[in-house]
Amino acid sequence: MSAGAAKIPVRVAEVTPVNELVTRFRFVRRDGGLMPTFSGGAHTVVEMNDQDRVRRNPYSIMSDPGDREGYSISIRRDDNGRGGSLFMHRQVRPGMEMVISNPVNLFALDLRARKHLLLAGGIGITPFLAQIKQLSAMNGNFELHYSVRTASLGSYADELVANYRPRVHLYHDDRGEQIDLPALLDGQPLGTHVYVCGPKGMIAWVRKTATALGWPREAVHHEEFLAPASGKPFEVMLARSNKTIQVGEHQSLLEAIEAAGVEAPYLCRGGACGQCETDVLEYEGTFLHKDHWLTPAQCAGGTKIMPCVSRFEGKTLVLDR
């Protein structure tokens, strides 16, 4: 299998500021055709040609799954990030030609659920926007609890309330409002599935509370894409390709492998899907494992690394790639 999902050449149709931190981008096909159908919760990987480097970042598709004219994504500007969101906010203009991937869903609805309980924090609202449209079209039973910092930073909160009130519940951090999670989880009918997307702390809080209340693991779904962390530069030997590469401070190991012209498998680029798992042949130093894929035993074993998010500090690292 080649790296990543199949690609779609697109044109940027609209760039719409949503609030002071979030901007929405709409992509349509360059050939005028229809986009592939997708399911709520799917993401697309956006390729960015940022000067001398190619960035590939995953973003949840937020538009209506029934709308095949185009895909919309919303991106929160991260001033301290590695630069992908800044590139999108500063460089991308309507009419620009870009490449995105076919949709991939790692956060699908469980269609057996009698009820879907959706918990969003901040920009984590985006996959739910598509899922809510899909569920509404199917007369699905859902309830959204959405935590925002302030009313003005609550992306799409007003339209969600206008379209789906009584199913939408908003919580404003600046007013001291918080989801009463134990009460909410405790009061759900049998057959309810809970989905959470938001900051790391929120995901951990929901999973822990649900487990403590006896929720089955299979009924608790979460999506957490990690942005690859920056870190000290390091050197890697790619044994199969016979190349030695340098991984820059703000570059991921996967990006450095790709920049060297070596094809490596990937899907989510966020440490979740497992596709980029790579064998370590030799090392002297310390792994900085950041992914959700490898087990603690695998991390300790020093034989695997997920190059999309994880790094290395030390003298020697030789990979089977």
Binding site: M1, A6, T37, G41, N102, A108
Partner: protein
């Protein structure tokens, strides 16, 4: 390519035959003179015009008769087609995939006209014309999966994906190599593969599942599997074993060429867009040994494969008792000459 549909049966008088053209395009599954399991997956891309790999869903000369046989089996046993309630959306995904592929790839046989959700489907070989509303079950005579798979050759397992596993939650299964949808419904990938010998120890299923969970929209995959069947029976189900199992006893060196068939499954895998389910079409191709040995390379190789197959596999595939006879018959067509690599006739 104009297909001429044959009138033939897969039961009682067994009038099924392959034309010489159909023999030439048969998906012979052995690239070398021996066989062992492998995760022999490759992208399901159009390949080799005229071959069974050219179209997304191959339609061949047996189409009309195979669909008649499916209707016959379903009339006797409606549980061959089942769909758990949460799989209806996947059924619509499958209907869309098949209708759009067939209309595009066989415009002389199938037409699909779409005006928003108002769809108009024409299936010329089966004489079907249907106007319906996409995603509205009340506008079709039966559920969407049943509707479209009554018009498409091959079995269909529709697999829900959740908890890092695949679940056999819907299917249309009337042309199977001795497995039962009614038994497997609701099982996960490891549960329904439990009876397969050797492969578990070889770690094949862990690797295969990992691959399948990552099959992406727009990037379908395929592989071949095979077994042997006495008489051209599409329906070799456990439910009907009492009818077809005894036929294995009738095999002799005299009737071998007409009665014994190599049965090849072209298995494909597609990610379905709305449901995120995976559909696994299993298309069965049959060829009589008399037909197979008209290709000298296949005759030589097939003799060597059957002769050297590990006993567990011959047992699992259900021909271990007849193997000595089959090998003796095939040996007449093997002069020991080397065979060329690959599956195609020389």
């Amino acid at each position: 390519m104009t297909v001429i549909f044959k009138e033939e049966t897969f039961h009682d008088d067994f009038t099924f035959r392959n034309s010489p053209e159909a023999v030439k395009r048969f998906p012979f599954p052995f690239p070398e003179d021996s066989y062992m399991y492998s995760v022999n997956l490759e992208p399901h891309k159009s390949y080799r015009p005229g071959s069974v790999y050219e179209r997304t869903f191959d339609v061949d000369e047996h189409y009309v008769s195979e669909m008649r046989d499916r209707a016959r089996v379903l009339a006797e046993d409606p549980l061959r087609c089942q769909s758990l309630p949460h799989m209806t959306l996947a059924g619509w995904d499958l209907l869309e995939l098949i209708m759009t592929s067939k209309a595009e790839e066989y415009p002389e046989l199938f037409e699909l006209h779409r005006d928003g959700a108002k769809w108009h489907w024409i299936n010329r070989p089966l004489g079907i014309e249907q106007k319906f509303t996409f995603l509205d079950e009340t506008t079709l005579p039966c559920g969407p999966m049943e509707y479209i798979t009554r018009q498409t050759q091959g079995d269909f397992a529709v697999l829900d994906q959740r908890d890092d596993n695949l679940w056999m939650d819907a299917g249309m299964v009337t042309t199977q190599a001795d497995w039962s949808l009614d038994f497997d419904i609701g099982m996960n990938f490891f549960e329904w593969h439990a009876p397969v010998p050797k492969a578990h120890e070889m770690g094949i299923f862990q690797r295969a599942l990992k691959f399948l969970l990552n099959v992406q929209q727009g990037s379908p995959a395929r592989r071949l599997n095979w077994t042997m069947t006495v008489n051209p029976l599409l329906d070799t189900s456990p439910e009907n074993y009492h009818k077809w199992g005894v036929m294995k006893k009738d095999l002799t060196l005299e009737n071998m060429g007409q009665m014994m068939h190599l049965r090849v499954e072209l298995q494909t895998f597609f990610r379905l867009p709305r449901s995120n389910a995976l559909v696994f079409p299993i298309r069965c191709y049959l060829i009589k040994l008399d037909e197979l040995v008209t290709v000298p390379k296949w005759a030589r190789r097939f003799h060597r494969v059957i002769r050297d197959l590990p006993t567990e596999l011959a047992t699992y595939k259900g021909f271990v008792t007849n193997r000595p006879k089959i090998v003796e018959w095939l040996s007449r067509y093997d002069d020991g000459a080397p065979t060329s690599p690959g599956i195609w006739p020389d």
